[in-house]
Amino acid sequence: MRKIDLTVEICGSAGDGTLAAGEILTTTLAFQGFHVLSFDSYPAEIRGFGKCVAHVRVSDQPVHSLSGTVDILISLDDSYSIQQLPTLQPEAVVLFDNQPLAPVLEEDQCIAGHLGPGMILYGAPFHELSQQATASGRSRNLVALGAFAALFEMNLEKFLESLRQKFKRKPRVVDEVAAAFNAGVDYVAGNVLKLDEFSFRRDQESETAAYELLTGNEAAARGAIDAGCKLYAGYPITPTTKIMEILSEELPRHGGIVAQVEDEISAIGMVSGAAAVGVRAMTGTSGPGLCLMTEFIGWDIMAEVPVVIIDSQRGGPATGLPTKTEQSDLYMALFAGNGDAPRIVVAPTNAGECHYWVAEALYLAEKFQVPVIILMDLFLSNRNENVILKPVPQEKLRANLFPTPEELAKGYLRQALSERGVSPRTLPGTENGYWVISGLEQDIYGTPVYDAKNHTNMTEKRFTKLKTALAEDIPPATRFGCEGKADLGVMSWGSTTGAAIEAVERAAAEGRKVAGLKQLVLNPFHREPVARFLDDCKQVLVPELNRGGQFAHWMGMHFSREFLRMNQVTARPITHTEIYNEIRKVLEQKP
């Protein structure tokens, strides 16, 4: 049972320092030992105006999804904050600037007249205090944080630590912001009577001390470095650009190279070239970029070249909604490209898994000489959460199947058939290891041929290698929630899994017979655990962020089963509350 489960939002206009304040708050809460999950929204425009919302869920236990409702709102811009009110809990707390800059405000410009009767309003003169403490109104956001920290009994030392960390490259700024922060703290101490019961006091921090606060993108970048990726070629695209930017600074320190190239085709081309000569290489993109890479994916499958592609999904189709999350590229990841072109597809569900599966993808790609596509999404890429990263085992750093010296001497054939579907692979620099790889179908001697028998054999080989991967390395789906027979099962993928886990565990804790299944590798996958799960569940619900029910459809291709769909294209993550409510709705329906 969670003792604390609160969501805090800071809402302001571009230029108010909303997101910076959110970052400092999240970091401090994490320093104090809370589990946090933050997910901000940015204005679509680059500069000037637009609503910014910093949003963080805080709990004493691990959190895997957003709740969808807000308990505490800090308003740095009332006109925008008013728009957030519908998501506030009836007993939410709102903190606002009670001495704004304007000489007079009308009712629709001030949040004070729009609250529900159960809400509590606290005011502090953010602007004035910032002016007094720093001779400028720029640090209003820090004053607000100070007021927040005092009101909700946070550890002030840890706050100052976060400030020092955030502005570590500008020591003068640290003094300024600390002054503004303390002004907010002092004001509350002297002027505000606490009426609510929310508290972020936490005395034991030891539990989460080992955690790092990472976004999915940061975790993915770390996975690449830790698994020995030596080339990242990419093209900027929201929301994956950050991976390239992090790697462009970090990867050279580990002897790797980051190339920003002219388009996604060049990116996958360079990655394919590097991988073909034996170096671990990967690229990252989003839906539109993956479209461009389609031809090369097929080529890598045919030529048996190990590449790793991250697709962090966003609203589609086409250019779509570049700054909004979605899960609608599954079909593309599984099927894009002409011909029978099987590839490995993985969908991590949180930042820790982003790290683990990028590393694992580089290993699997190399071992099975096949492209691995990692499906993330904008929510996963951008949300901040506490993780403990596991080190990559030494034995996974090298996975290429080399021919033995005897095999080389006998006359090495790159395209030889094999039981496992994986042929030994020499790398340039090896005497007598020569090969030609091609997008054409080749026989075992490497000659492009068109006959039926060869095409059948080679196609078989491409499918067999995935069966081998399944047998040797791919983990099965895991179950959560109630055991044994269930009235309702929930299956999801990617970041929605977190919401599913929380919803199912909540329902199960209430004594309902609800279970869930978590699948990380979407292709190939072990049939058995899924079949057993489907057998155990009277009905199965599949929540996912796409209109067509792509994952439900994919499962339906393998199992003859009707799935209850929960499809949304709401451009925001599905919350655990929504899935829980749907679970209740389904259970309460009489057939």
């Binding site: 190279i257 085709i265 070239g273 340039p428 005497e431 091609s438 490497g446």
Partner: protein, 291 residues
């Protein structure tokens, strides 16, 4: 899935003695595959093959350290006819693949073989970036002014108004000037050769391989099967002219002027030195360690 069949040899191969002779006199069999080329007899591509083998032999670049990347077209077959490491990439994409390979394994000698359709049509978008990045590889553009593999359609270098299989009333487009493009895109080694002068070609290729940076050779080669009117050996004999001795290949303006000249010059147009792509990338590594 059936186990590996016993290793047999491909259908066509040389007699033992001939092999021994060729191996002793010239090192070409160190680089020639057991598979014979399938280009049409008389195709200019044979000349490049020979020139390339001679170059590698002369420069003592072992086959095991050689990577040949090709696009799609008749040129695409190139790696199949060499004994080294070959990558037959996608249409228009040889340059990124070659760049990636060379970037991560700079000890390899990398070639990008592209066709006029492949390199100047679908692949044209990669050309400026390869030139300006200056990766240390050699790019040979096999220009036969036609799409040969797909049997005779117009290519980006087919002359205006020429009748082809896709333009029975004459090509409406103006052809691209590959040498001019390479110069303007900033390539650090730009040359043109043609199939009728194999010795000159070999010299150019040797220089290109020795050059530290992106070497671009525009290679004119008659398509004996699908072009009976334009790019003939006889025509090219008359139209081509070696660059004058006073041509200063360190002078970019001169090179550009010559490239625009209606005379079809052959030889080394331009050469300069500039840090390569890998040089820059490795300097980031050093800078990264310091910070």
């Amino acid at each position: 899935m059936s186990p590996e069949p016993p290793i047999g040899k491909p259908e066509l191969f040389y007699e033992e003695e001939e092999i021994a002779h060729a191996r002793q006199v010239r090192g070409v069999l160190d680089y020639r595959s057991e598979r014979l080329p399938t280009w049409c007899p008389g195709c200019g591509y044979f000349g490049v093959e020979t020139a390339l083998f001679d170059t590698l032999h002369e420069l003592k670049i072992p086959a095991k350290d050689t990577v040949v990347v090709s696009g799609i077209g008749c040129v695409g077959r190139f790696p199949f006819f060499m004994k080294c490491y070959g990558i037959h990439a996608l249409h228009g994409r040889a340059l990124p693949v070659a760049t990636g390979a060379k970037l991560v394994r700079p000890e390899l000698t990398v070639f990008a073989m592209v066709g006029d359709g492949d390199g100047l049509g679908i692949g044209a978008g990669h050309f400026p970036h390869a030139a300006r990045r200056n990766p240390d590889l050699t790019c040979i553009l096999f220009d036969n002014n036609i799409y040969g593999l797909t049997k005779g359609q117009t290519s980006p270098t087919t002359p205006h108004l020429q009748v082809t299989n896709s333009h029975p009333y004459g090509n409406p487009d103006n052809p691209l000037n590959a040498v001019l493009m390479a110069l303007v895109y900033g390539a650090t080694f730009v040359a043109r050769g043609w199939a009728g002068r194999p010795k000159d070609l070999q010299l150019l290729i040797a220089e290109a391989v020795k050059h530290r940076g992106f070497s671009f050779i525009h290679f004119l080669s008659p398509c004996v099967t699908f072009d009976k009117v334009n790019l003939l050996y006889s025509n090219l004999e008359q139209q081509t002219q070696p660059l004058p001795k006073r041509h200063d290949y360190t002078n970019l303006e001169q090179a550009i002027a010559r490239a625009r000249d209606p005379e079809l010059f052959v030889g080394l147009f331009y050469r300069t030195e500039r840090p390569t792509y890998a040089d820059q990338m490795h300097s980031y590594g050093e800078r990264g360690e310091k910070s």
